[in-house]
């Protein structure tokens, strides 16, 4: 894959490093490698980085850093990303119960995909996913990519309340709702794990770039 990111401003206090414009594992791994590299040696005035599918946003304090100075520093970092790709990534196992009161869309997903419910469960739990990015609500992991056999569009009308811990799918992605919130994804399973514990030393179960495997519980 070509690795020629562009650095563009997003206003006067952030800049965007554009690595790619598709939902693609290799592109996303470059983004996380880049984030790790930059955060290991931040420039004074850098506030934080926000990785997404194909971009890394860098927030900075314009009273301390100019766009130009930060861009030049990051351009230099970009040349080192390839060497950083092999770093070990955290692997998290998530026990889940498919179907039932929290996985209310499991059967309609199976019908949509013309599969048996057991096949949907097997296919969804077989793969190791990457946390492409986090967003929507505090702690929500966008996991990908789903096997093509279980691609299902989001709901036409979002639900007003999805309980915390619900595992859902939409398009080529799967995710877990960290807090009770509205949601438009297809609900297929539930985990008892606490995804977001604001009072804890480490409030978030997942970090961008982590690997996630669902473990079927009876």
């Amino acid at each position: 894959m070509k690795f020629q990111p562009k650095i563009v401003p997003l206003g006067d206090s952030a800049l965007l490093i554009q690595v790619g414009d598709e939902i693609d594992i290799t592109t996303n791994q470059h983004v996380h490698a880049l984030a790790a590299l930059i955060n290991a040696s931040p420039l004074e005035g850098m506030i934080e980085t926000v990785p997404a599918y194909g971009t890394l946003l860098v927030h900075y304090d314009p009273l301390i850093l100019s766009f130009r100075r930060l861009r030049d520093y990051l351009s230099e970092k970009l040349t080192q990303v390839r060497d950083n790709l092999s770093r070990k990534r955290k692997q998290i196992e998530v026990p889940v119960r498919y179907g039932g009161e929290h996985g209310v869309d499991l059967e309609s997903v199976a019908r949509h995909c013309q599969l048996q419910v057991e096949d949907v469960i097997r296919i969804h739990s077989e793969k190791t996913y990457t946390v492409f990015m986090m967003g929507f609500t505090p702690g929500f992991p966008y996991l990908g990519k789903l096997d093509d056999a279980i691609l299902t569009p989001r709901l036409e009308t979002p639900r007003t309340r999805v309980p915390a811990g619900t595992v859902a799918i939409a398009g080529s992605q799967t995710g877990i709702y960290p807090i009770d919130s509205p949601g438009g994804w297809q609900l297929i399973a539930w985990t008892p794990l606490q995804i977001f514990s604001p009072q804890s030393e480490s409030p978030f179960l997942f970090s961008p770039g982590d690997e996630v495997k669902f473990i079927v519980e009876e």
Binding site: V8, P9, L10, G11, D12, S13, A14, L16, Q18, D21, E22, I23, A35, I47, E48, T49, V50, P51, A52, Y53, G54, T55, L56, L57, H59, P62, L63, S66, F67, R68, M133, M134, G135, F136, T137, P138, G139, F140, Y142, I179, P198, Q199, P203, F204, S207, P208
Partner: protein, 315 residues
């Protein structure tokens, strides 16, 4: 010591300079809508500029001091009375125990800030006292304040009388106006829009919709059309970013801006002009946009912030 809320009809939240370092996990920074007025209020009472203060918007609020204290009120769109007197904003005042501090809404702005010497001492959440209402984080139990709430205030290390009767001169405020022209750094998705749309955006008036909130100001005006229907995949967002959904009506992201978003961004409002935008009134203010460069925007921002040192001591 503490400050008690006697009567609240507006949206009163506790805000500090924002929740930093958690955006990669999807946690917005929150913080004040008008960051300049917020900082000025803290500066007037000699608090650190990132001290938690009250943000008052959309309606009225009355506080009562439980002990003698010094407060400062800044912002726009409010009338201030303390005990039986009316006072202008952008000043600090000595308030006796039992006196009421009333902020009543007027029609020339949106948000006021009440800072108190010693600062608000609620429990920080993820390193900040800022209230993020949608996530029920920070502030007082993650919610907006109600009548009878009592908020603890920190102790002062020096004589509070010295901090009273200080005024922040109008020449150092942001140029609050109902017809602002806001500087915009164009991009990163300018190429998603037709050339005509970019011209329309830079040459027409937009008003703020009534459906706006702390998360975003929805604008109403000539629609901006896309070159094609290419979808953008989600990427990081920032306070001031102007997203354009498929109906062509821009949405400017505000203090509770989500960390990421998937609509193309035609540009981002310059930091120095965000206070002006924040104080724009739905269905009344008329906003125009003007293209600027990052370097110019950063220079204006530095100039505005350096004005924070211009406190006039009255008596």
């Amino acid at each position: 010591m503490s400050l008690k809320l006697i009567d609240v009809s507006g949206l009163v939240t506790i805000q500090d300079s924002g929740r930093k370092g958690w955006r990669q996990f999807g946690v917005p920074t929150s913080g004040p809508m008008d960051a300049f007025a917020y900082r000025a209020a803290n500066t007037l009472v000699s608090n650190p500029t990132d001290c938690a203060a009250f943000e008052i918007g959309l309606g009225d609020a009355t506080f009562q001091a439980t002990q003698d204290c010094v407060i400062a009120v800044t912002g726009a769109g409010y009338k201030l009375s303390i005990y039986v007197w009316e006072f202008p904003l952008w000043s600090s005042f000595f308030v006796r125990a039992g006196w009421k501090i009333s902020l009543s809404k007027t029609d020339n702005g949106m948000w006021a800030y009440l800072a108190i010497a010693g600062g608000i001492q609620t429990q920080p959440m993820l390193g900040s006292r800022s209230t993020y209402l949608r996530g029920a984080l920070g502030g007082l139990k993650g919610r907006q304040l109600q009548s009878d709430d009592v908020v603890n205030i920190g102790y002062l290390s020096h004589s509070s009388y010295e901090l009273a009767a200080r005024t922040f001169p109008e020449r150092a405020w942001p140029a609050y106006i109902q017809t602002p022209t806001l500087d915009v750094i164009m991009g990163p998705q300018t190429n998603y829009f037709t050339n005509e749309s970019i011209q329309i955006f830079l040459s027409n008036e937009y008003s703020v919709s009534l459906t706006s909130d702390r998360m975003g100001y929805r604008l109403e005006g000539p629609a901006l059309t896309r070159r094609n229907e290419t979808e953008l995949i989600s990427e990081g967002l920032i306070f001031g970013a102007i997203q354009v959904p498929s109906n062509g009506q821009p949405i400017v992201m505000m203090a509770d801006c989500p960390t990421t978003g998937g609509y193309p961004k035609i540009g981002t409002v310059a930091s120095a002009d965000l206070p002006l935008l924040a104080q724009c009134i739905p269905n009344k203010s008329k906003i125009r946009f003007r293209e600027t460069t990052v370097a110019k925007a950063q220079k204006r921002h530095r100039a505005l912030i350096s004005g924070l040192n211009k406190i006039v001591e009255n008596e």
